[in-house]
Each structure stands twice: as structure tokens, then as C-alpha cells.
Symmetry: C2
Subunit: 374 residues, 2 copies
């Protein structure tokens, strides 16, 4: 057996990325927009950035791209899901502060424009707008043959939340309950490692997946024209990232109504499980700890990736979502009610753990899956 | 003399880009956000997209990148201006609907993160935020070695305007006066052609500019460490795009005050002179015409590019801003007052022409510089 694979050996230097971003941030100065005026920056207790004042509301912008998952889409010329991926990466981030996404713009950089690709992207973005319930408020396509060798897709989502209703993590306390919402697969993080495993194993994306893709709480979509009962590895790994606007926006709105048993204050924190996997939980609070005792079952492709790539279990949980795309921390008192409410709208949702005050770390039913820094 | 150069021969296929964008747009469906709710799309008479409802305001998003100007920055490792370029391309678009920019997010794609480059980009973005008076509300750096061969930078700006105050061009009429605001040079459009001319002529960006760069209404910045009195071609072509928030936001605010001689309704339309040059004016109205009889003097680099590249005059005006970065169409009655007000804040601003009802075209003091479609 060769050396076990990990994310760094797949060519992603997280420390270097961190250093680069830190350099950029260090160069920035305070906003010139004074408090109380439109656009003034708001510092939320949880350390979330990106919110600005706007009258009785806060506005939030999220910007992100699809990343190296696009390389699989380029290879297969399958663009049907990447608009959804792009939307999801942005709107799911907005949901974490309790913001309702309302609009989106896309940025596409290509070596050469191709009407067929753009038609497929447009259809994917239209579907994404429908799923996220946002307006596509613009976009840009840039031809940059000297800069990009294949298509890059990123976007920016705009959301809002009423002042005072932002979800910040500041009311988190020991005993709060963690509710996990199922992912639809690998989503849009960890694809450098996915691609490395595929290459290492000598598999083609057109090969049938050597496992049963059926999994609670998600469906995998066939590419157009493929009517086989078996799914290909390409179909599995291009399955679009789940968009959680429905049910989370509806949950937050319901919590504000008089017929709700629970209040908005019972929803303490929301975590989008992206790059860094479960270690993302550490960003929600400065001292509390997180224990996952009843995790959702990872989809079969995770098990396959681990086995074929010889990847250590902890590395899997630090790189991938492992079946859980979003985690809500809610009050113990109303946890069951909230979980039932969510499960009726997103099957597979369940209580997965709790918050404790035994140290700022993430622990898991699987021994060794433990994180003390993001 | 070789064939005259033009934008298409420099590798930019505008028709193909148009077809690709049309394919994307054709695939989009109507927004699911109903009129009267936050995020519902607003169709302005002038055909400007991108505005959405938000209470008593309209919000606007603009997204754009710096384009192939970045390739010169990469070559010279000079990142001090590109953050300003990125900001300018976006906020100047927002100004055209009368929106005040309030926030910005950046997206950087690199083959490999480099802390030094990011520090320089951060400083440039910080300066850009100061110039545009916006809050930097987030950003993303993506490492995409399989997709980009060098740095790509794009961004999204958020602006707002009170309902009813959007500038749409719907009140334009024959006799309205055109006021030109000076550009700072080539800005961020036409760089495929700039690079082609440089290559054709065998010039290095480190060569001294073979012309006097002094020009009314702009200054050129030296790169750090260059104390020569003469500017290099690299310094001239990387001079950052002008940001017009100051004076345009202030003009619009002033027009709403009681001490103003002119009203907001006297400002009929605003045009950002980007790719397409003066033909951008055609987008402001469906039938009126535009005559430029007293153009601002083009900066000396435009003359040099034309001469060295053997570029036809009409092609120059269809590709570059030719010295005028923004054009305001204002009522004849208050044109002088508005022009004086602007010139006190941006030297070089002057009346350059007028609106007429003799056909939907742009004409110019220079014969042959005429456009009848964008």
C-alpha cells in the first residue's frame, strides 16, 4: 500500500492559502462608511464578516466559486449541475447568519466563449435560482485566453436579515442540540483529492460507480441521454451541491410566527459544512465544544474514496462533508420539535450531537475524528 | 504597412461573446420572487437590468473583472492598481442607474497563492474602497492550478437608490447636453489590442513611454521604486481606471437638496464608456441620437497605440474610451451649472455634445467616427 493520500498531497496547500488571505486582510483598512449609514460594516459576535447596515435590515454578500469540481464538468462537458453548485456555495453561507438570499450574479471566465456551454450554464443557473428562490440580477462572461485554460465559474449572492434577527452563535450554551441536514454527496469541496483518487485508481468518470449510490436523503441525477439504471462515477461526483434555503429560510420565518412552538432565539447557530469539514463548527464559538454522537451515514462514495485512496478517517472528516451539509445548533428544549419540522421538509434530518463546555474542540462517535482548530 | 489592427484580430470575437451571452440569457426564466417583495426584479425603461426591490429602495449588483489588463500586471508583478480597476469597472456601472455603491466583494483565482501578491492586492483593494467609499464585505481566494495559469481578479459591487430616483434615460430629449468626464487612460477595456500592439511593435513594458504622458485631468502613478521622471509604458498602461463615485454620487445628492439650482430630473442619463467605446451611448435610449462636437482630448497613449498599431480611427473609438470615461446627459437649461459643478471636482470635465432626434446613432467631430449599433 502506498502512502495514504491527504488533501495537501493532492496539491492544496491550506497553510499557504491562509497566509495569502491573511496578507490580503492585513492590508485592508477600516471602512469609510460611518456607523448608522447604508453600507456601514457590522461586526457580529460570532466573527462572521460581510454584513452591512441598511436601514432596519442587515445586508450580507457571499462570494465563492465552484473550484476544481469544474474540471470534471469540463472533462465531461456536463454543465447541468455547476450553476447549482455555484449558487449553493454562496446562499448556504448566507443562511448561516440567518440571512434570506434574494439575488445572485455570476462570473464566468473562459478561454473562448461557447454558446452551447453557456446555454447549459444558463439552464443550470435558472434551476439554481428557482431552488434558492433568488433573482438572477446580472452576470459577466469574460474571454481570457491568456489567463484561464478552461471554464471558471464563481458568483455572489445577496441576502438580508432584519436587524436583531441575525444568527450569531452568541446565545449558544452547553446542552444545545445539533441537528444535521443531509448533503447530496461531495458538494463542492475536496475535489482536488477526489480527482487525485480517481487518477491514482485509474478510473474513468464514465465508468459505472462500483457501489450502490442509493443513500438516505438525496437523489443522484443522470446526465442527459444516460438511461442506464447504474450511475457513472461522473454522475456521482457531479451531483449538485444541495441548496438549503428551503427548509432553513422557512424555518426562520416560521419561528417568528405566533403559531410556532419555538422562537428564533432557539436557533443558536448554523454551520455550512464546507472545506475543513466538521472543523467548521469551531468557527461558531470561541470556547464551546461540539460532540457528534449520532452522525448521519456518509454516502457510499465517501467510503469508496477512502478505501481507494487509502485516506485516513480523520482526513476524510477534515476534507469532506461526510454526508452532513448543514448543522443547526438549537435549544435543548425545542430540539425535537425543530428536528421534526425540518425532517418533514428534508428527509434524513436528525439530531446528531450536542454542544458542551468541555473545551473548544469537535469530537465524533468515531475515535480519532477530533479537531481543535479550523 | 501591414494590415491595420483591430480588436477582432487581437483575438476578441465580440460576436461569439454576444452569442454565448445570448444563449445563457435565453435559458433563464423569470424570477420566482413576486413583485413587492425583497429581491423582486425591476425592469427599468432604459433596459438596465440588475435592479431589485428592497422596501423603499432599489438595490443593484454589478459584477465584472479586470480582464486581460491583468496579464500586464502579472508580467510586471505590479498589483498596485488592479484592485482599483476591479472596483472601478463595477461601481462605475452602478453609477449609471444613479445608484450609490456601498459594498464590494472580490474573487481572486490563482494557480498558487502567493502572500506577497495578496498583500499588494489587499492594499490596492483598500485604496479602491476608500476611493469608491464602500465597505469591503468579503472576498474569496481560490487556488485553481488546473483552470488558471495566472491571476484572475473579479468583483461584485452593491449599490442602492431610492425608489423613483433611478436614472433610466426615460426623460431624455432632443437638445439635452452631453458632459464628458475625463478618463485616466485606457482604463480596463481594449487590452487584447493594447497587448497586440506592444507585441507587434516589439516594445517592452519596461521601456520608457516614447511620448509625454502629461494629459489634462489625470495623473499617472509611478511603480514603487521608479523615481525616474519619465514614465514606462507599463506604468502608462497599468494606470488604474478612474472611479467616478466622487463626483457623481455627490452630484446626485446635491441635486436633491433645496440649495441646488438643478433637480435630479435634470440628470437624464449616465453612460460608462467601456468596451464598445462611444457606441455605449446607444444603449441609453431606443431612438434618440448622440453627437459629440467638442470631444475631450484623447490621452497621448491613444495616439501612440493608433500610430504604432496602424489602427483605424473608428476602430479606436469603438474599442477605447479615447479620453472620456463617463458621459452625463443633462437638461439644456442647467447644463452649464452642472458642468461647472462637476469641473470644480474633476478638472477637465466639459460639455462635449448633445442629444438629437435625427436617428439612433452616435456621430463625432471626426468624420467616420459613427456608430449605429452597439
Amino acid at each position: 500500500m502506498a502512502e495514504p493520500m491527504d488533501y495537501a498531497s493532492a496539491g492544496v496547500d491550506i497553510d499557504l492559502e491562509g497566509a495569502a488571505v491573511a496578507s490580503l486582510i492585513a492590508s485592508l483598512s477600516a471602512s469609510s462608511r460611518p456607523p448608522g449609514t447604508p453600507g456601514a460594516p457590522v461586526d457580529l459576535p460570532g466573527g462572521f464578516g460581510g454584513l452591512i447596515e441598511f436601514g432596519d435590515s442587515l445586508l450580507a454578500l457571499a462570494t465563492d466559486g465552484v473550484g476544481s469540481k469544474l474540471q470534471i464538468a469540463s472533462l465531461l462537458k456536463q454543465w447541468g449541475g455547476v450553476g447549482i453548485d455555484c449558487m449553493a456555495m454562496n446562499v448556504n453561507d448566507l443562511l448561516c447568519v440567518g440571512a434570506e438570499p434574494i439575488a445572485f450574479v455570476d462570473y464566468v471566465a473562459v478561454p473562448k466563449p461557447d454558446p452551447e456551454t453557456h446555454a447549459a450554464l444558463g439552464a443550470s443557473l435558472a434551476e439554481a435560482c428557482r431552488l434558492a428562490r433568488v433573482t438572477l440580477a446580472g452576470g459577466e462572461t469574460a474571454s481570457l485566453p491568456g489567463i484561464v485554460t478552461e471554464l471558471d465559474l464563481s458568483g455572489t449572492a445577496l441576502g438580508y436579515v432584519k436587524k436583531g434577527n441575525a444568527i450569531t452563535g452568541e446565545h449558544l450554551e452547553s446542552g444545545d442540540v445539533l441537528i444535521g441536514l443531509p448533503s447530496s454527496g461531495v458538494h463542492s469541496n475536496g475535489y482536488s483529492l477526489v480527482r487525485r483518487v480517481m487518477e491514482h485508481a485509474g478510473h474513468q468518470y464514465t465508468d459505472d460507480a462500483p457501489f450502490n449510490v442509493a443513500s438516505v436523503g438525496r437523489s443522484v441525477m443522470h446526465f442527459e441521454g444516460n438511461d442506464d439504471s447504474q450511475f457513472t462515477l461522473g454522475e456521482v461526483f457531479l451531483n449538485p451541491t444541495r441548496i438549503y434555503c428551503d427548509p432553513i429560510v422557512d424555518l426562520l420565518k416560521h419561528a417568528e410566527t405566533t403559531e410556532s412552538e419555538f422562537a428564533l432565539s432557539d436557533i443558536r447557530a448554523i454551520c455550512h459544512v464546507t472545506g475543513g469539514g466538521l472543523s467548521n463548527l469551531l468557527r461558531l464559538h470561541g470556547s464551546l465544544g461540539w460532540h457528534i454522537d449520532s452522525p448521519l451515514a456518509p454516502h457510499p462514495e465517501f467510503e469508496w474514496l477512502q478505501e481507494v485512496g487509502g485516506i485516513e478517517t480523520r482526513e476524510m472528516y477534515r476534507t469532506f462533508n461526510m454526508g452532513t451539509g448543514m448543522i443547526l445548533a438549537v435549544s435543548k428544549q425545542h430540539a425535537e420539535t425543530i428536528c421534526t419540522w425540518l425532517n418533514e421538509r428534508m428527509i434524513g434530518t436528525q439530531v446528531i450531537g450536542h454542544v458542551h463546555d468541555q473545551g473548544h474542540k469537535v469530537t465524533h462517535a468515531i475515535e480519532g475524528v477530533e479537531f481543535s482548530h479550523y
